[in-house]
Amino acid sequence: MPGQGLIKGLGVTMRNFVRATHTVQYPDRRVGLLAAAKHAGKNPVSFIASNPREGIKAMLFMASIPERVEQATRFRGNEFTWFETRCTGCASCAKYCPLGIIKIVTHPGGIDVQEGESYAIDVFDIDTGRCMFCGLCVEACPYDALHMGSQFERGNYERNNLVIDVDELRSNLKQPSSWYRPQFEERKYNPFKDEQIEDHHDAGRHEQPSDEDLKRRWVDERK
């Protein structure tokens, strides 16, 4: 029968029409009273009582709550997490960067918690305006001092603001992604739900040196 294929196709469209939506309304979506109250952590009555204006907006389905797609823990975000006490200034990250956008200037006289005497960092610039977030710098870091971040909202109006300098690295959010950091996956660290890693000891090492190694390096070879 001619036209049969057309009708079959229309059936598929109708089935998809009633299916649940697959898209996510980023950055926020319009919700009603119940969802808005749930987001504020109150019951609907106290939500209206505490903030009548928002309550009326919510009743008209005009309130908005933030929404994001669920990210994987290995997501290579564009703010970097850096532990200064671990960084020896070896500039491995700068050498392995395919674009050469990491600039490091050091002077002798720093103290590193893992290696003892080391170099102190004067300049640590990462030009994220040119960065392609391949993560090779993180893979190259021998002391797990540099980690990929987990966020992505760093939009700017000026290119200069895209350069992450050493002060920004120090104050950045310490919620590293588990890209090339199997120790985070072992202990099920989720940067989107868990707390920040304030202490560098909690960050672990992906290749922990053995006690013999440490003894050889710090005792035997120093004689």
């Binding site: 049969q4 294929g5 057309l6 598929v12 290995r74 997501f75």
Partner: protein, 370 residues
């Protein structure tokens, strides 16, 4: 009464909404019939081959992502085969299985995009494209679990992959493999039996097998002409000799055959992934840093590694002079070589079929111009 007519040349592109990238045609029409086509390309040339000459072997991976950005995992795989041949690296079995799974997922994603845009060119505006993009999104989310990025993966390393798959990857993969055949069936129900599709695609832009072989066309385009040539079967790389799969063939060589072959190939990809997921065993995913250091320094020589990409034979030819970066890196890009018969395919067809036939080649300008 006689009407005086003359051929008219029209310029299409490079900025044209349906050219699948920055591609430019100069088409000569006689009425509505195409009598000459002159393809002009090079608008997306970024010099990837030259850039590769001043990067280390590890760093070139990031460039291969950006060549064919619809199937970057397969570009990674082809490049890694060439590097492993050049350096004589023995890859880790688990890493090889993982990259086969990732590669077949990428092939499904690439074919979905090809089919979706072909149907869009045929006038089914938007609807099939939203369906295929929905399925592709779930594949890209799995890539995000594996390697933290959706398009520019950089997942592979010489001798394997950079990290093992996370625990949550396997249940997601299995539920996706359960779901996908139904979704492909749905897509077939939606438009494969459609009379308009038949009328528009059957017998249009026919490519005879002898012409296709002479022009060294590869991939789904060649199999749609009835030539049984698949590198996974003829010259098995990785562990493709340990998995069983069919090679869908169509003898017509027209636009519909190219569409049909891609639809059937997706089902074969599911079979391959199922077998890989069964045969994979625990173990290291890449050789240790002592065997393959971050800065590999291969002996002087050359190597050619080729895979069956989503668009055809994708090969990397690397020449080493013993240094830390390739002396020369040449890419055998299937998109570019499949494009060579465009003029022969299009002459004699009508104006409305121009972009349909062009889209049925399934080319990617990032790979054509590199």
């Amino acid at each position: 009464m006689t009407v005086k007519t003359e051929p008219i040349s029209i310029n299409l592109g490079p900025q044209h909404p349906s050219t699948h990238g920055v591609f430019r045609f100069r088409v000569t029409f006689d009425g509505e019939e195409i009598i000459d086509v002159e393809p002009i390309f090079g608008y997306l040339h970024r010099g990837s081959e030259k850039l590769a000459e001043e990067r280390t072997y590890q760093q070139v991976v990031t460039l291969t992502d950006r060549m064919d950005y619809v199937s970057s995992m397969l570009s990674n795989q082809a490049y890694m085969l060439a590097v492993e041949k050049l350096c004589g690296i023995e890859p880790s079995p688990r890493g090889v299985w993982l990259r086969m799974i990732a590669g077949e997922l990428q092939r499904i994603a690439s074919h979905l995009v090809a089919v979706g845009f072909l149907l869009q060119d045929l006038g089914s505006w938007g609807t099939p494209l939203t369906y295929v993009m929905r399925e592709r999104e779930s594949i890209l989310s799995m890539f995000e679990m594996l390697c933290g990025a959706r398009i520019t993966n950089s997942y592979l390393r010489p001798g394997g992959v950079f990290m093992d798959a996370p625990d949550e990857f396997w249940p997601t993969l299995h539920s996706f493999l359960e779901e996908l055949p139904h979704r492909i069936d749905e897509l077939e129900n939606y438009l494969t039996g459609n009379e308009i599709i038949f009328a528009r695609t059957k017998g249009v832009a026919v490519l005879p097998p002898d012409v296709a072989v002479n022009a060294s066309i590869t991939g789904p385009m060649l199999r749609a002409s009835g030539v049984d040539w698949d590198l996974r079967h003829r010259d098995p790389y990785d562990f493709y000799d340990q998995v069983e799969f069919e090679r869908p063939l169509h003898t017509a060589g027209d636009n519909f055959a190219r569409y049909w072959v891609r639809m059937e190939e997706m089902r074969e990809c599911i079979k391959i992934i199922r077998q890989c997921a069964q045969k994979i065993e625990p173990g290291p995913v890449r050789p240790s840093h002592d065997e393959v250091p971050f800065l590999v320094r291969p002996p002087a020589g050359d190597a050619y590694g080729a895979i069956e990409g989503s668009k055809g034979e994708l090969g990397f030819y690397l020449v080493s002079d013993g240094g830390i970066s390739p002396y020369r890196c040449h890419v055998r890009a299937p998109s570019l070589i499949n494009l060579t018969l465009l003029r022969e395919m299009l002459i004699g067809t009508l104006m409305g079929d121009l972009f349909v036939s062009f889209g049925s080649i399934d080319l990617n300008m990032g790979e054509v111009d590199r």
